[in-house]
C-alpha cells in the first residue's frame, strides 16, 4: 500500500502516540481523583506506589434484616475477579458490581459460629472475643425456599507501611453498603457499565 498524502502519513504515524497520551492522562486523572492503582489503567507508574492489590483488601459481610452479620471469607473465582477489580479501581459502581455478584450466591453456613480471634501487634493470637461469625460458603445449589436476601457490606481497606516505626497499618478507607433492593431491583442498572 502506498499512501501518498502527507496528511495521512502524519496522521497514521501520530495516531498511536496520541491514543497513548490520552490513556496516560486518563489514568493519572483516575489515580489522582478516584484511587485507581498506579499499576493499572495504562499509565507508566508501575513501582511508583505501594497501592496495588497486595496493599488493598476488602472485608465482606452479609447483613441480615434482623441485624445479624455473616463475615465472608471464601469466594468463588467470579466473586474474586469482580472484588479485585473493584479494589484496583475503588469506585462505588465497581463495588456494586462485586456486591451484586456476591449477593446472588446461595450462602450457607458451613460450621458452627467461629469466634473472632484477638491478635497483638506481633501477630500472636491472644484470646477469642465474644463476637463470632458463621463461616459461610457459596453453595452451587439453589435455595429450597426463596428467603429475603441480605444486604452486602464491603469494607475497603488499605495497607500502609511506615518505614520509621516499621509498622504496617491497615486503615478502613470506605464502607459500601448495598441493600437487596438496590442490588436486585433490576438486572440492568444504569451505573452498571
Amino acid at each position: 500500500m502506498i499512501i501518498r498524502s502527507a496528511v495521512w502519513r502524519y496522521a497514521l504515524m501520530l495516531c498511536v502516540p496520541c491514543v497513548a497520551l490520552v490513556i496516560v492522562a486518563r489514568q493519572v486523572y483516575l489515580n489522582t481523583h478516584y484511587g485507581l492503582s498506579t499499576w493499572k489503567g495504562g499509565g507508566m507508574g508501575m513501582f511508583a506506589a505501594a497501592d496495588e492489590l497486595s496493599n488493598r483488601y476488602a472485608k465482606v459481610f452479609l447483613v441480615h434484616s434482623d441485624g445479624n452479620r455473616d463475615a465472608l471469607a471464601q469466594f468463588t473465582p467470579e466473586d474474586m475477579d469482580l472484588l479485585n477489580r473493584a479494589l484496583e479501581y475503588p469506585a462505588r459502581k465497581n463495588f456494586f458490581r462485586a456486591a451484586r455478584q456476591i449477593g446472588s450466591e446461595n450462602w450457607i453456613p458451613a460450621f458452627q459460629r467461629r469466634p473472632v480471634l484477638r491478635v497483638n501487634g506481633n501477630g500472636d493470637p491472644m484470646n477469642a472475643e465474644d463476637k463470632a461469625y458463621r463461616v459461610m460458603v457459596a453453595s452451587p445449589l439453589r435455595p429450597d425456599t426463596e428467603e429475603k436476601r441480605p444486604s452486602v457490606e464491603i469494607q475497603f481497606w488499605k495497607l500502609t507501611y511506615d518505614p520509621h516505626t516499621r509498622h504496617l497499618h491497615g486503615s478502613l478507607a470506605e464502607t459500601f453498603v448495598f441493600s437487596p433492593e438496590e442490588l436486585f431491583r433490576s438486572r440492568a442498572m444504569p451505573n452498571d457499565s
Binding site: M1, I2, I3, R4, S5, W8, L12, M13, C15, V16, P17, V19, A20, I23, V24, Q27, V28, T38, W39, K40, G42, G43, M44, G45, M46, F47, A48, A49, A50, S54, N55, Y57, K59, V60, A71, A73, D81, R85, Y89, N94, V116, L117, R118, V119, N120, G121, N122, G123, P125, K131, Y133, W157, T160, Y161, P163, R166, H167, L168, H169, G170
Partner: protein, 321 residues
C-alpha cells in the same frame, strides 16, 4: 489517500552490512562477537521487530482467552507462512484482540500490557505502508516516542508519589513481596521476615481476626532500609536519564541513553519479574539502535536471551540454598 502495491527495496540488507564494518570494528576483532555484530546488522529491521513482537505476544501475552486464541492463531500463521507478518491484517487482528481484551478488563491489566497493544497497533500502521523508508520512519518515531513517554511519565509519577520518594515502597516490597524475596536474601535480608509478615497480614485481612490497632510490627533491618533507598534513587535516576537523553535526539546522547537502557534491562529484570515490559523496552531500543549503533543493537539482541534466562527458577534456588 491513493493506494498501490510495490515490493520491498533490496538495498536494505546491503546498507546494513556496510554499517557494520564501519562502526563495529573494535569488538569485531574478538572472535565470535564480530560475527554476531554483523549478523545483527544483516537483520531486516521491520522483519526482526515484527518477529520479536509476535514472540512477545505469545510469551508475555495479555491474560485473556480472546488474546490467547488470536495470538496463538497469529503465531501459527507466522510459523506456516512467515510472510504473513508483512500483512497489515495480521497486525490488525492481533492489535484488535489486545484492545478488546484491555477494554474488557482494563482495571486489572498491568500498565505494560497496554504497551504491547500500542506496539502491535504501531506495527499495523507500519505494514500499511510498502516503502521500507516510510516503514522505518514510523518505527523509529514510535520507538523513540514510547521510550520517552515510558521513562518520563514513570519518573513523573514516581516523583509525585510520597511513598516512592521516601523509599517506603521498595522497603515494604523487600519485606512482603515474594517477587523480591530471593533478591532480598542475596542482599542479606532474612526471608523468614517476609514469611512472618505475610502471616501477620493474613490476620489483618481476615474478618475472623481483630488485630490490636490494625497495626503490625515488622522485624526489619537497617540493611533493608538502605537497600530500599538505593533502589529508589537508582531506579528513578536511571529512568529520568534515559527519557531525558532520548528527548535530545543527538548521536552522543542517544548512545548514552542506549547504554543506560541496556544497563536498566540487564539489571532491573533480574530482581523484578516484569519480563514482558523488559522485552518491549528491548524491542524499542533495538529499533532505535539497529542502524546507528551496531554494537549496542547486538547488546539488545543479547538482552532478549537474558530476559528469557532470567525466568529460570533462580529465586527458588536462592531461597532453598
Amino acid at each position: 489517500m491513493r493506494i498501490a502495491s510495490s515490493t520491498r527495496s533490496p538495498a536494505v540488507s546491503a546498507r546494513h552490512s556496510r554499517g557494520a564494518t564501519t562502526t563495529g570494528r573494535p569488538l569485531a576483532s574478538v572472535p565470535g562477537i564480530g560475527r554476531l555484530i554483523e549478523f545483527t546488522q544483516s537483520l531486516d529491521l521491520v522483519q526482526t521487530i515484527s518477529v520479536l513482537t509476535v514472540v512477545s505476544a505469545i510469551i508475555f501475552q495479555v491474560d485473556h482467552w480472546l488474546f490467547r486464541i488470536v495470538s496463538g492463531i497469529c503465531f501459527l500463521m507466522f510459523a506456516l507462512r512467515p510472510s504473513s507478518l508483512r500483512r497489515p491484517q495480521f497486525w490488525f487482528a492481533l492489535a484488535l484482540a489486545g484492545t478488546i481484551t484491555i477494554i474488557l478488563t482494563w482495571e486489572k491489566v498491568d500498565n505494560h500490557k497496554y504497551l504491547l497493544v500500542y506496539w502491535t497497533w504501531v506495527l499495523f500502521v507500519v505494514h500499511l505502508f510498502r516503502e521500507p523508508e516510510q516503514q522505518k520512519r514510523i518505527l523509529l518515531f514510535n520507538a523513540r516516542f514510547f521510550l520517552c513517554l515510558i521513562f518520563l511519565a514513570a519518573s513523573a509519577q514516581k516523583l509525585s508519589s510520597p511513598s516512592y520518594r521516601s523509599g517506603e515502597m521498595f522497603e515494604h516490597y523487600l519485606y512482603v513481596d515474594p517477587r523480591f524475596a530471593a533478591f532480598g536474601k542475596l542482599i542479606g535480608i532474612n526471608p523468614e521476615v517476609g514469611d512472618t509478615v505475610t502471616r501477620k497480614i493474613h490476620f489483618l485481612r481476615s474478618p475472623f481476626a481483630d488485630v490490636e490497632g490494625n497495626d503490625i510490627h515488622i522485624e526489619g533491618s537497617d540493611r533493608a532500609r538502605t537497600a530500599a533507598i538505593v533502589m529508589t534513587w537508582w531506579d528513578l535516576g536511571l529512568q529520568l536519564s534515559i527519557g531525558a537523553l532520548l528527548l535530545i535526539r543527538k548521536r552522543r546522547t542517544d548512545e548514552l541513553a542506549h547504554l543506560l537502557l541496556l544497563f536498566f534491562i540487564f539489571t532491573t529484570y533480574l530482581p523484578a519479574p516484569v519480563y514482558g515490559f523488559g522485552w518491549i523496552l528491548a524491542v524499542m531500543g533495538f529499533t532505535l539502535a539497529h542502524d546507528k549503533f551496531p554494537k549496542i543493537a547486538t547488546g539488545y539482541l543479547l538482552s532478549f536471551f537474558a530476559i528469557l534466562l532470567y525466568q529460570l527458577p533462580w529465586r527458588d534456588w536462592v531461597l532453598k540454598s
